[in-house]
Amino acid sequence: MFPKGTKRKFSDSGDEPAAGGEDVNQPSSVAVRMLSSYSLQRQSLLDMSLIKLQLCHMLVEPNLCRSVLIANTVRQIQEEMTQDGTWQIMTQALSAANAAAQCSADRLVATEVLCRQTEATQGEQVLKPFPAVGSEGCPAEEEEEVVVEEEGEGGPQPPTCQAPLAWTPAGKRKMDSRTAEQVFGTFEIKNPAPSPDPALEELFSDVDASYYDLDTVLTGMQSAPKMGPYDLLESLSSHGPSPLSSSTSCRSDLNELDHIMEIIVGS
């Protein structure tokens, strides 16, 4: 199933011996290749995790344990990316691309994702307090007060639950559903990549095949996003800004990342 000899553990990929035929005169390129492979895998894991956090069950309360575990994973990745400088580069590129973006690189993304509303209740009149972590944090009395205020005064009120950013739920909800569609729509479009780095392409084929095989082998499984990491890797990681790739195609595809960051940051 996996390409033979390849056991890809995220923490171990840096230690894996290179494939046969390594040229001892070029140890740095091998190291660079391994590093970029690890970064790509880490990036795809981050993307997968963020999507998992966004996709909530529409009618039933999301599983808090699962959300917390995914959020902790995202935090872990972010911390590591912050330590090796990748995170700053990514957020700087995004804020350069979008002047209005309110990216706050300091703030941990996961908590904001947890605190944002789900797309569950479009068009509902009653103010839905924060779902996921935020709303569950509000005791019943607080929620009642919010609802009462809502009905009394009419216009949308920011929830009383603690939120990192002030935002109007009703307006946000609409934008979220729109941006969510755009994001998902973006994911399903495989952008014709203008001749990506052949070295990276080679790496993708390794990782992609294994994921694709996994998908076909583990049949009948319900992956939350219908596209697999194969698509994620293709559309996101390959075009995402990375310290190793200076492709100018990054800029046009930054819009896709931008959509994701918008959802995350809530700008």
């Binding site: 056991k7 917390v68 307090p129 929620e143 603690q162 990192p164 996994l214």
Partner: protein, 446 residues
């Protein structure tokens, strides 16, 4: 592995019965969500996603050849779907846990819970009815008193057995988060219920009040990084309980120390193995189940890949660790992608605490004999379901060199998971729940 002694190599597990629909089309409501024997083992309760409880009773038979069979005793709708209007969210009727109360009189009592509400059910038998009223006919019509010339005393006459289930208490509105555990105290008066962030103590008779004994909710929910995953009372010490967390820790608390047991008396945690560190380390360390041994000296925890036995006197590391499906360690990324990594497997002890059992994928389940240091993998499937057919041990091959009768990791069906298992308190009878079927296996009686 026998209740009365004997090693695991002596026991051969045979198919006994299977309950549930045969067809592969599984109705969502029929998915079994909990399995529990009562204290004598005579009754076996299952709860499903549709909020129903089905109780099976072991018939007393005198056949020496085989043990008695379990037949349906009572079926009732325990919980109904609800709607939380404040949050605009449905409350699932799925039964998360069933716990039997120790029997005090002719009736049986159990606690069943969904995400938000716990109910105490009384299951009683009626096999006699009064006959011979003076003012009422047998069909219920009233008799004109003026026509009565003689009086008689009504008597009880036997009738066909009727099993009635009636809700006696409803314990509601005490949990903001989803209830994952209930546990009945050895004092026979109180019980605890645990959700993701809080544990409450109830009196069995009082429904409008409960005491919060553990609260790990942070003041700022953004700082939430750990949740409660399971909790249980000590089987003998009514002041002691444990709760497990999503970070792989178990805390033992003593209710005599303070009213709010946020500070633990003991913290059980195994240091992480740095060689196995990955982004998934925390997720697979999350404990899905914790169970005290019957003798109260040990407790068992289940995380994603292993079962650990802890001595209550040693907090630093478990005394025994058993790998359930180590071959999945390389597949954690895809198991994360399809959400299987979040599956919550349960575990159970046998009657004399010598063997532990837990489920896996592909309808496999595993037993670990602690004394003999042996383990076996068995399968719950229709293929092995001829009466008294001995179960053949299964083997999963992790590398490419698959031997005959082995199954490769890539062929495992991750939709067929055994999350819930139960062991008869005295005998070698086990109940194993696949998605919508309940298998009952017994040891081969020679």
């Amino acid at each position: 592995m026998a209740g009365a002694g004997g090693g695991s190599n002596d026991v051969q597990w045979c198919f006994s019965q299977v309950k549930g629909a045969i067809d592969d089309d599984v109705a969502e409501a029929d998915i079994i969500s909990t399995v529990e024997f009562n204290h004598s083992g005579e009754l076996l309760a299952t709860g499903d996603k549709g909020g129903r409880v089905v109780i099976f009773q072991q018939e007393i038979e005198n056949k020496p050849q085989c043990r008695s069979e379990y037949n349906v005793y009572s079926t009732f709708q325990s919980h109904e779907p609800e709607f939380d209007y404040l949050k605009s969210l449905e409350i699932e009727e799925k039964i998360n846990k069933i716990r039997w109360l120790p029997q005090k009189n002719a009736a049986q009592f159990l606690l069943s819970t969904n995400d938000k509400t716990i109910k105490l059910w009384k299951i009683s038998e009626r096999d006699k009815r009064p006959e011979g009223y003076n003012l009422k006919e047998e069909d219920g019509r009233y008799i004109d008193p003026n026509t009565v010339t003689a009086l008689r005393v009504p008597v009880f006459r036997p009738m066909d057995l009727m099993v009635e289930a009636s809700p006696r208490r409803v314990f509601a509105n005490a949990h903001t988060y989803h209830i994952n555990s209930i546990s009945i105290n050895s004092d026979h008066e109180t019980y605890l219920s645990a959700d993701d962030l809080r544990i409450n103590l109830w009196h069995q008779e009082i429904t409008d009040r409960s005491f919060n004994i553990v609260d790990i909710k942070p003041a700022n929910m953004e700082e939430l990084t750990e949740v409660i995953t399971a909790a249980e009372f000590h089987p003998h010490q009514c002041n002691t309980f444990v709760y497990s967390s999503s970070k792989g820790t178990i805390r033992l608390c003593d209710m005599r120390a303070s009213a709010l047991c946020d500070t633990h008396s003991k913290l059980f945690e195994e240091p992480e193995d740095p060689s196995n560190r990955s982004f998934f380390s925390e997720i697979i360390s999350s404990i899905s189940d914790v169970k005290f041994s019957h003798n109260g000296r040990y407790m068992m925890t289940r995380d994603y890949l292993s079962v650990k036995i802890w001595d209550l006197n040693m907090e630093s590391r478990p005394v025994e660790t058993y790998q359930v499906h180590e071959y999945l360690r390389n597949k954690l990324c895809s198991l994360y992608e399809n959400d299987c990594i979040f599956d919550k497997f349960e575990c159970c002890w046998n009657g004399n605490d010598s063997v532990v059992m837990t489920g896996s994928y592909n309808n496999f389940f595993r037993m670990f004999d602690r004394g003999q240091r042996r383990d076996v993998t068995l399968e719950a499937s229709r293929e092995g379901s001829k009466p008294q057919q001995v179960l053949k041990p299964r083997k999963v091959c992790a590398d490419g060199k698959r031997k005959k009768d082995e199954i490769s990791v890539d062929s495992l069906d991750f939709n067929k998971k055994i999350l819930h298992t139960a062991w008869h308190p005295q005998d070698n009878v086990i109940a194993v729940a696949t998605t919508n079927n309940l298998y009952i296996f017994q040891d081969k009686v020679n």
